[in-house]
């Protein structure tokens, strides 16, 4: 497909998702309370979209990932939250 065809197919969807993300960040800002590691990870990942580097999807997924190599001592929960909380939080 040409670049124009890709834009015809996906531009409006991508634009919509970007506005959803912007509205989410506004919503978080309006809410009382403090940031946590998830928001920090999201803001870090957003920086990966700005340049012309390839493999953005891979890099964003990697940025949210547990970078450690050793198994954790025990699973204390079954679910994942989408961002690595860091070794201090027992996440890796």
């Amino acid at each position: 497909m040409t670049r124009e065809q890709i834009l015809d197919l996906y531009f409006l969807e991508a634009r919509g998702k970007l506005i959803e993300l912007a509205a989410f960040l506004d919503r978080v800002d309006r809410a009382p309370g403090r940031d946590d590691f998830r928001l920090t990870a999201l803001r870090d990942a957003l920086r990966l979209l700005g340049g012309n580097q390839p493999d953005r999807a891979k890099n964003v997924l990697t940025a949210f990932s547990d970078p450690t190599a050793e198994p954790i001592p025990a699973a204390t929960t079954k679910s994942a939250c989408g961002a690595w909380p860091g070794a201090a939080a027992g996440g890796g």
């Binding site: 197919l9 999807a57 547990d66 190599a69 954790i72 025990a74 929960t77 079954k78 994942a80 690595w84």
Partner: protein, 268 residues
């Protein structure tokens, strides 16, 4: 259009979903053993689940002309309890001879813990001793990359495992090449929010090529779409894929992997 749904948890779905799958051109549905959404309280709960997968569910599918196959294991979400896991693994061998059983799956890791790793190694050993195909679940979200690496190491450490007889499921952009480079098959799971959207799955096919990749809905009791594979086929058509290229990915590829188990046969 014809396709194979290689990963669907039909025990969690209503009968209408079988109607929709059959209507959309599904030729066979394959069901890996899964977590029920709550921990089963004893090995007896697993025994009944394995009976459901091998006796009851194939009959339910057959009413709509669908072949039903399954994979057996204790899911990684329940493998923190090693004693329970050992008791459940001991139940599996007699079931392996049943007509619709394709192999051991979906095994793997969930939170990448030491006990999960121990139980994964025991499942791999069970598969090797009984010459079974393996279907691997990779962890969710932030745990996926590390879990994929740990799983690949377990598989490589066992010399009896032939990489082409292992499919590693739920790959995404950051894990797909790790899996393919080791000679395994890789599964793209089509989920509304987590895992892959149809557009991203097709991107991965564009970048990596269609060899040793399949797509599945992994529909279960959570938010998921049983018709995700045919929906993605429609998206492939919009992206300029020919009917032959689509057939390769959604029918021929799963057929090529699954028929390594002689029990996987489709009605002609």
């Amino acid at each position: 259009m014809r396709y194979i749904e290689p990963h669907a948890h039909m025990v969690s779905r209503v009968t209408d979903d079988y109607v929709h799958l059959a209507t959309a051109g599904c030729q066979a549905v394959c069901e890996p053993a899964f977590w029920a959404g709550f921990d089963r309280s004893s090995p007896a709960g697993f025994f009944d689940y394995f009976r459901q997968l091998t006796e009851h569910e194939p009959k339910r599918a057959a009413k709509y002309g669908l072949a039903h196959f399954c994979w057996l294991c204790l899911n990684p979400k329940e493998s923190e309890d090693v004693k329970l896991a050992e008791e459940v693994l001991a139940l599996i061998p007699p079931f392996l001879a049943r007509p619709g059983v394709l192999g051991i799956g979906e095994i793997g890791l969930n939170k990448n813990s030491r006990n999960e790793l121990k139980v994964l190694e025991r499942h791999v050993d069970l598969a090797a001793r009984h010459d079974q195909l393996i279907l691997v679940h990779t962890p969710h979200l932030e745990d996926k990359l590390k879990g994929t690496r740990l799983t690949l190491d377990v598989l490589r450490a066992d010399a009896r495992i032939r990489p082409e007889r292992v499919i590693i499921d739920h790959v995404e952009e950051h894990t797909v090449k790790l899996v393919l480079d080791r000679g395994h098959w890789a599964g793209l799971t089509l989920y509304p929010v987590s895992k892959c959207t149809p557009a991203r799955a097709i991107d991965i096919l564009d970048v990596c090529g269609p060899e040793r990749l399949w797509m599945n809905s992994a529909c279960d009791w959570g938010e998921s779409l049983p018709l995700a594979v045919p929906h993605t086929a429609l998206e492939m058509r919009r992206r300029g894929w020919t009917p032959e290229q689509i057939d390769q990915v959604i029918f021929q590829n799963p057929l090529q992997f699954l028929r390594q188990c002689p029990k996987f046969k489709l009605a002609s």
